[in-house]
């Protein structure tokens, strides 16, 4: 018996594009009679490309990456739902896969019946389910409704019940795909706690998520996937950082925004953004430094009082704070100007950030109008802090993203 729970070697998965056809159609019996040969370039899509890694027993490993990076496909291969096109994997231990909550739930059956149904589908024996029945019902909080058909449940109850059944699986290897994003915050915390228990009890956990906080909390090691291949395999913190950097790198400094997805619905924008750049061209700042942006604005029509407002996002997507310009600028039709926006005293913690910017007009009484808005632009870095006694290079995430001014302290009385 080896120490290795999951060993993946050069796993590849190719999908053929195009639909499953009819029996008498082009891909069925008539395949021989097709006139044009298929062009190989359009036909195949490699969802996984030479993926290899080893996971030891008891490790909790996260898998992160963009949508379409191959995370779910990898889980499907490891769960034996789909076959790899190449390579192989060796798994030691009983596997339970949670790729979706509520698989097999039927609206006509009662909560109790669905617990047995879903549990059985997930691989639990009837005796196991019966043993844990009370705990499952209690965890979900549906004691009063357990004998009502599930179609009567609220969506929250439905999801809590579904997750509760899955949470009581006792496999040796647990594979979870983004299913923690269900229910309200309280329930999510409960679920995270339960997952934490599972991993602390010595089980191997493979966890796919977009929620970086959850990943950081549950895992110590992370695999970053990019376009079907492993881009990084190492500590969770470093992997998340690499992921954030990849997001930030999407936007090209000072580039043309013509193709950039824009938030506002107005196709005939009266006022719109032209190019954006940092005044000093550098995108690396010291903590406490002022940020100055050069915003090029084009006005198609006249506008009376346009403000620049925006939000600074941490590279993971969490908004850190917002600003609204006090002054409102008038624009004449056809005018093009560059506005220099200065942000002082931000006190951002070390990390990667992006901007979301808007040109708006109006006020609270009469309503706002967004002329143009852009998200994920102007990525920048804030470097580590140099402390008074030396270098403080680390800024743990649970310290937040803003460094507040030093507090004043007053000793009230001795003794």
């Amino acid at each position: 018996m080896t120490d290795c729970a999951i060993k993946a070697s050069h796993i590849s998965k190719r999908y053929s594009l195009g639909e499953a056809g009819s029996l008498l159609g082009r891909s069925g019996l008539m395949r021989r009679f097709r006139k044009k040969p298929r062009s190989p370039a359009n036909e195949a899509f490699w969802a996984l490309n030479d993926v290899s890694f080893e996971i030891r027993r008891g490790e909790a490993v996260g898998i992160i990456g963009h949508n379409g990076a191959g995370k779910s496909t990898l889980l499907k291969v490891l769960s034996r739902i789909t076959e790899p096109t190449g390579g192989h994997a060796v798994i030691e231990g009983r596997v339970a896969s949670l790729l979706e909550v509520g698989t097999g739930f039927h609206p006509e059956l009662t909560g109790r019946e669905n617990i047995f149904m879903n549990g059985s589908i997930l691989g639990m024996r009837r005796s196991e389910i019966a043993r844990n029945l009370d705990q499952i019902i209690e965890f979900a909080g549906v004691e009063k409704f357990v004998d009502t058909p599930v179609k009567r449940y609220s969506s929250g109850m439905y999801v809590r019940l579904a997750f509760s059944v899955a949470a009581h699986l006792e496999p040796e290897i647990l594979i979870i795909d983004e299913v923690l994003a269900v229910g309200d915050i309280q329930f999510q915390k409960k679920c995270l706690g339960k997952m934490d228990d599972v991993s602390r009890s010595g089980r191997t956990v493979l966890f796919v998520s977009h929620n970086m906080n959850a990943v950081r909390q549950l895992t110590t090691r992370c695999i970053l996937m990019k376009r079907g291949a492993v881009a990084f395999d190492g500590s969770s913190d470093h992997a998340i950082q690499a992921y954030s950097e990849a997001i930030g790198a999407q936007f090209e400094q000072g580039g043309d925004l013509a193709g950039w997805p824009r938030g506002s619905g107005d196709t005939d924008r009266i006022v719109e953004f032209g190019t954006l750049s940092f005044c000093d061209r550098s995108t690396v700042f010291e903590p406490g430094a002022a940020l100055t942006l050069d915003v090029h604005v084009r006005a198609r029509d006249a506008a009376a009082a346009v403000r620049v407002s925006g939000t600074i996002f941490h590279a993971e997507g969490t908004p850190v704070g917002s600003f609204f310009s006090a002054e409102a600028l008038p624009f004449a039709a056809g005018e093009e100007t560059t506005v220099r926006v200065s942000l002082d005293g931000l006190r951002l913690a070390p990390g990667s950030y992006t901007f979301g910017l808007s040109l708006t007009e109006g006020n609270e009484r009469l309503g706002y109008r967004h002329h143009d808005s852009l998200m994920g632009v102007l990525p920048f870095e804030v470097t580590g802090i140099v402390g008074e006694n030396g270098t403080l290079g680390i800024w743990p995430h649970h310290w937040g993203m803003i460094r507040f001014p030093e507090p004043t302290m007053l000793v009230l009385n001795h003794g």
């Binding site: 499953a20 030691e92 059956l109």
Partner: protein, 283 residues
Amino acid sequence: MSRSSFTVIRPRSGWVPLDLRELWAYRELAWTLAMREVLVRYKQSMLGVVWAVLQPTLTMVVFTLLFGALLGPKNLPTVEGVPYAISTYCALLPWQLFSQAVSRASTSVVNNQGLITKIYFPRLIIPLAPVLAALVDFAVAFIVLICLMVWYGIAPGPAIFTLPALVLFAVASALAVSLWLSAINAIHRDVQYVVPFLIQILMYVSPILYSAQSVLKGRPEWVQFLYGLNPMAGVAEGFRWALLNTRPPDFIVVASSVLGVLGLLAGGLYYFKRMERTFADVV
């Protein structure tokens, strides 16, 4: 906790052996899925249980009246010495098992897309579940048959002991056809529209509404053999023999039915196992 369970995941090609041990390990799931079908059907309709009886009974009544009117009450195509009504009902029982199972199983893989794309289990369970569920309806209709036999004063002979084998025969036929249809339908979706029609035609081709004797008397042996390749021929005639204590069915018909079932089942298992690895990708 079993530590020694190694699983190797690699691309498979061609012949995949049937893993009976794994199927046995998942027997609870097979039963659960079958129960789900039965429960859901009965919860949704008031008729529920009654429908299992109503269908064969109504069919029997209608055809008794129809053939009686067309052919005259003395010429009904029944087995010798047995009233047409009960001879027909006896055959309708396994027929209902077969047709219900096949209708539901042919779309079962596609309908269970949610399960197939999210959970691992031996895919053979999917067409198996509707077949098992049809057995429940069969059991209910069987009770009515017993009442009918009491009413007509017919007692079964020693052949009644072959009944379990015959039920197995019927289940095997249903499963064989279901394996083929469910696999083909998953990949070429137009098959499901042809199935109801095929089942209807099969009902007329099989000796359900008439006894095999009435069409095969005096015909050459190769005709009898061809006719018997249809598994339902052997099943229907066998049921009549086991329950109504009539003369045994023609050997040729039964033998070729058994051949037919074995061939279909083996072929169906092979085809299904070969195609099942693509289900999650195409369904």
